[in-house]
């Protein structure tokens, strides 16, 4: 995949997006702790690109994806969308009724192809219902369109009378993709679309997503924890750690020369699929920080091998290190961190 062209226009601009859970009075009158699942995330996605979002479980990447698709209502911040006809709307603040025309434009593909399909609906209903609800097609026309979509994702049109249980995991994920395409969206939020699939099927789905993107000029927000998949598919990548973006860069730059110690740790933790490589991962101490009780200063400092006094007290800002490269670390640039090439060389 080529990197994004210079002329590409922003399609989604996420600005200081926040989603907090809890902080409410419980039945006993006590106030529950506020969990800052997404805590001030800012980035821009350009039309036609695949924007990757990586991080470990609990870092807020799924919550962020859901806020963008308004499956969840954000606590604060903006998600500025540029509709086809021009202008700009803030999806985060629109009332449900006003949001409706834009819902078609932003669709989702989910991780678990079993629980995300209603077992009591046929494929025709699963894929056709959104078309009927949004007035895109009626009667026989729905069947035609569903048949076309099924064929486009590599299934047979006759399958539309069947129920999801009749299909394997990979086929179900194809159904989920067909449903997402039913409304001719411009942006698809893909939340770990291949992580529940067998390895031999993963590649089929990744290739299908790539082909559909080229054909329909789709923009993907691709959420994943598998760095190999992200490197393969994404044009730009944002790395998240407890609710915040800690680094954002073009994929090749990020993997060649990470600027944030967490990015380096993530990359070095992936066991190389090569028995002659003896990589010593930069092991992180302890576990992910608790989003209900964040450490002071830089949230990563208790696990960071490069931590200095300043990191313990002063929270770093996400700053533009060089054009298009953002990092949230006081010591970015002064540290010499290893990219995949150095890690691979250290293997030999």
């Amino acid at each position: 995949m080529s990197s994004i062209s210079v002329q590409a226009e922003p399609i989604l601009s996420v600005r200081d997006l926040k989603k907090h859970f809890g902080g409410k009075k419980t039945w006993s009158g006590a106030v529950s702790k506020t969990i800052r699942a997404v805590d001030g995330v800012t980035f821009t996605i350009y039309e036609g690109e695949t924007f990757g979002l990586v991080g470990e479980s609990g870092c807020g990447k799924t919550t962020l994806g859901r806020c963008i698709a308004r499956a969840l209502d954000p606590t604060g911040g903006e998600v500025v969308y540029a509709p086809k006809e021009g202008g700009a709307v803030d999806l985060a603040s629109l009332k449900p009724r006003d949001l409706r025309p834009y819902r078609q434009d932003v669709q989702m593909i989910f991780q678990d192809p079993i629980s995300s399909l209603n077992p009591r609906m046929t494929l025709l209903d699963i894929i056709g219902e959104p078309m009927v609800v949004n007035g895109l097609a009626r009667g026989e026309e729905v069947k035609h369109r569903v048949g076309d979509l099924l064929e486009r994702v590599g299934l047979r049109a006759e399958y539309m009378v069947r129920y999801p249980h009749a299909f394997s995991g990979g086929q179900r994920q194809r159904i989920g993709i067909a449903r997402a395409l039913a409304l001719n969206p411009r942006v698809i939020v893909c939340d770990e679309p291949v992580s529940a699939l067998d390895v031999s099927v993963q590649a089929q789905i990744l290739n299908l997503l790539q082909d559909l993107q080229a054909e329909k000029n789709l923009t993907y927000l691709f959420i994943a924890h598998d760095l190999g998949v992200v490197e393969y598919l994404c044009d730009r990548v944002a790395v998240m750690y407890v609710g915040q973006v800690v680094e954002l860069a073009e994929t090749s730059d990020l993997f060649a020369r990470p600027l944030h110690p967490y990015t380096e740790a993530l990359m070095s933790a992936v066991p190389p699929a090569n028995p002659r490589a003896a990589r010593a991962p930069r092991l992180l101490e302890g576990d992910l920080a608790n989003a209900a009780n964040l450490p002071p200063g830089c949230h990563f400092h208790p696990r960071c091998g490069y931590c200095v006094e300043r990191c313990r007290t002063e929270e770093p800002e996400l700053r533009e290190y060089s054009p298009g490269r953002f990092v949230r670390c006081h010591r970015a640039g002064e540290l010499k961190l290893d990219g995949v090439a150095e890690l691979a060389e250290a293997d030999l």
């Binding site: 067998d198 099927v201 066991p271 090569n274 002659r276 302890g286 030999l348």
Partner: protein, 350 residues
Amino acid sequence: MNHDRHILLEIDELKTHYHTPQGVVKAVEGASLKIREGQAVGVVGESGCGKSVMLRSILRIVPQPGKIAAGTIRFRRKNGEMADLTAMDSNGRAIRDIRGGEIAMIFQEPMSSLSPVHTIGDQIVEAIQLHKRVPAAKAREMTIEILAKVAMPRPDQIIDQYPHEISGGMRQRAMIAMALSCEPRLLIADEPTTALDVTTQAQILALMRRLQAEFGMAILFVTHDLGVVAQMTEYVVVMYMGQVVESAPVDDIFFAPRHPYTHALLHSIPRLGQRSAGQRLEPIRGTVPDPFARPSGCPFHTRCRFNDGQRCVSELPALREVGPDHQARCHYAETLGLSGVAAPLERVSA
């Protein structure tokens, strides 16, 4: 592979079948493998390939209605005698001594395999007291010691905590501690890091490597992650539809695979550093066949690029020697000229 070491476990032509109202599912259909003392062997395969059923057959914990239909599983007991586990009563004294005492198992999901209503300490103490005659106070002491060995932070506090109070990585450490508490000679690890994040996975793998060296136990490592296989094992067994399709030293699997399925697995996964090579993924076409309708001939022929349309469709290939310590189940193993993964330097130079 070190041939001086004794064979610890030898599975020979194992068949484990499930008799269901819809028909017979041949979950394991002729699987063979050998593990030597202290050796780390990897089992690779996709879901439904029979790897978990094979592991459960070893410990005789195959859930109903599964039954071992044929084959032997010979295990070298502590006293040096080779015992056939398939001949044992699945509830008998002998197999119960072996479970936990000589062969221990750790599972993929530490949350669902630990009891939520007992403390970590109670569960490990129980395991110790099942196999060793020690007073409760001594068993508790041993538990704290083993928790410290698996690098559990604050072992004297964690021992009195419940599984839900600790993180996923710590739960997996607790499970490993429990498995090691009776000093087994074989540890069966069923996808032990699949449910963990990569940074936690790296911690657990490093721990397992250290413990293997320290305890000198053999490990049967089941996973679908080729990176984990490459880093953790000496010898690899690849399974497809209940059969071993290839087994070889780990280096041969990665650099000189002989079975089209192994080759396809190596090339269908995006690996870190591969993008710069500008390759498109080569997926394996189709999906794993329905277990009720096993394909004729070679079970992989429906998805194989090299299917000849004749012999592959009609004749089941035998698992045969194709190199030193290297077996493959393919009619054309020697002539396909399959390529392994490229050397790491070529892979990343952009």
